[in-house]
Amino acid sequence: MSSVEAGAKVSESPKLASVPQHQNAIMPRVHVPLGTLVIAMSVMCYLASLAIGGMLLINRAVDKWTSDISGEITVQIRPVVDADITKQTDIAARLLEQTQGITGVTVLSEDEAARLLEPWLGKNRILEELPIPRLIAARIDRRSPPDLAQLSARLKADVKGASLDTHRQWQEELTATAQTLRWLGAAVLLIIAGASVALVVFATRAALETSREVLEVLYLVGARDRFIARQVERRFFIAGFKAGVTGLFGALLTFGLFLLLGSTGNARGLLSAMRELLAGPFDKSYADYLLFPVIPVVATLICLMTARVATMRILRSIF
């Protein structure tokens, strides 16, 4: 026979009059059911981690591309009918070497030039057999960069078929897109923080409502608001920390998954780009990665502070 046996389940053999060792929490566990909150907050932290991860990726990508690009200018000499392209290339190289603020000049071979174009053109067969223009790459001394407008004018004047590519257009496009995405990321983070606060307020209210009888008794035996708030806070503190760690861990797993997916042969484009960025050298952006451990901290703080403020306000309004 199975039957209602609530009493029997909690039963304990009447122990000898021993001195109790452990104190139960003043707020009952069942009345502050934070399981759902922990899951919901975990999802929030997960999303926050993804958003931060995404923003870091974007930053790295922009950094990589712009530093690759803006530290360098390219001069191209297109084949012109009445001029020897090799000679024109030499002239241009010499001109660059003499220019203030340019540190290294490399004339690229035809093969090298083709390879350099590849990322933008793909191995597009359409272009495979086109006459390739000659390229000269020149490093810029970033501390005293040359006057690029003047340089461009001089090149145009002195060298047939030459033009200066400062990659500025690419750079602008990239920066603009990155900026939009950064704003988006910030907005997402804000929304997540707001939703988290709402979640905690909800959970606090629910907890206080369900434990109303407990609260009444506590007040009647002389408890102060601060005492009660401390009991409630404690539970939310733990919940927030758990959620933060879970969410972050989940996000790291996801990044790991991307790495794995990115490394298999049939993943292309976006995925492998991501992989490259994720797995790339840590270099100077160490500090950025410190944002991740901040997530559990922030989650815990949000839980703690929101629960504290909400509890004090609700207590004052109910009792």
């Binding site: 304990e12 000898l16 009059a17 001195v19 109790p20 139960n24 009345h31 008794v217 035996v221 002389g222």
Partner: protein
């Protein structure tokens, strides 16, 4: 100690549950309050432990007008009052020991300081063997005794007991009454609301009778 002047109480828009209550309790007195079910005994006690406020009239408690009390003054006053609730109001998630020690814990006393006192009190009310179990497994009378122990553990200046012997046998009732008398001897003002005429007849103490919200001194 306690003074009621023309006190009236109504809940919401209902009729007056208490009407024109005038009473005075001397410090150190022992007083019974009786009356039929629904007469307003519990309501009167609620006024005294500051769980409701009167709709009219004046209540003075510990020489203070309760109408002028600020929210943050309540805890200190409540710590001077011990209450045995009619429905016990034990916390199911705390052990009997913890329930009884709750007023001390809430007042931030360290458990090492009160442990032995509480155990002794539990022995007195016959709950020593139940110190580590939770209220849901206590019998009705055991719960009532735990509620009584919680009310007296802080040696309050004022003890309010609402039907404190409704769930115990007559012999035990007398024993518990002895506890109240003992406290009273050491200066606690005691007010016991009860239907138990047998109990009242055993203690020489004044009896107030409430009937439909009106007070009639001495039966």
């Amino acid at each position: 100690m306690i003074r009621f002047e023309n006190v009236g109480l109504r809940y919401g828009n209902g009729p007056e549950v208490l009407r024109d209550i005038n009473l005075e309790l001397e410090p150190g007195s022992f007083q019974f309050l009786t009356g039929p079910s629904g007469a307003g005994k519990t309501s009167l006690l609620r006024l005294l432990f500051l769980a409701s406020k009167p709709t009219r009239g004046l209540i003075r408690l510990f020489n203070q007008d309760v109408a002028t009390l600020q929210r943050d003054e309540l805890p200190d006053i409540r710590r001077r009052i011990g209450v045995v609730f009619q429905e016990f109001r034990l916390l199911d998630h705390l052990t009997t020991f913890e329930n009884v020690a709750l007023p001390l814990r809430v007042a931030n006393q360290r458990s090492s300081a009160y442990r032995s006192d509480v155990m002794e009190l539990l022995k007195w009310v016959g709950l020593a063997e139940h110190a580590n179990v939770y209220p849901p497994v206590l019998s009705g009378g055991e719960k009532q005794r735990a509620a009584i122990a919680r009310a007296v553990v802080g040696k309050p200046d004022l003890l309010l007991a609402d039907e404190p012997t409704g769930n115990v046998d007559p012999a035990l009732a007398v024993r518990l009454m002895r506890l109240f008398l003992e406290l009273n001897r050491f200066g606690t003002t005691v007010l016991v609301a009860t239907h138990d005429t047998h109990l009242i007849s055993q203690v020489k103490a004044p009896v107030m009778k409430l009937d439909r919200g009106l007070l009639t001194e001495a039966a």
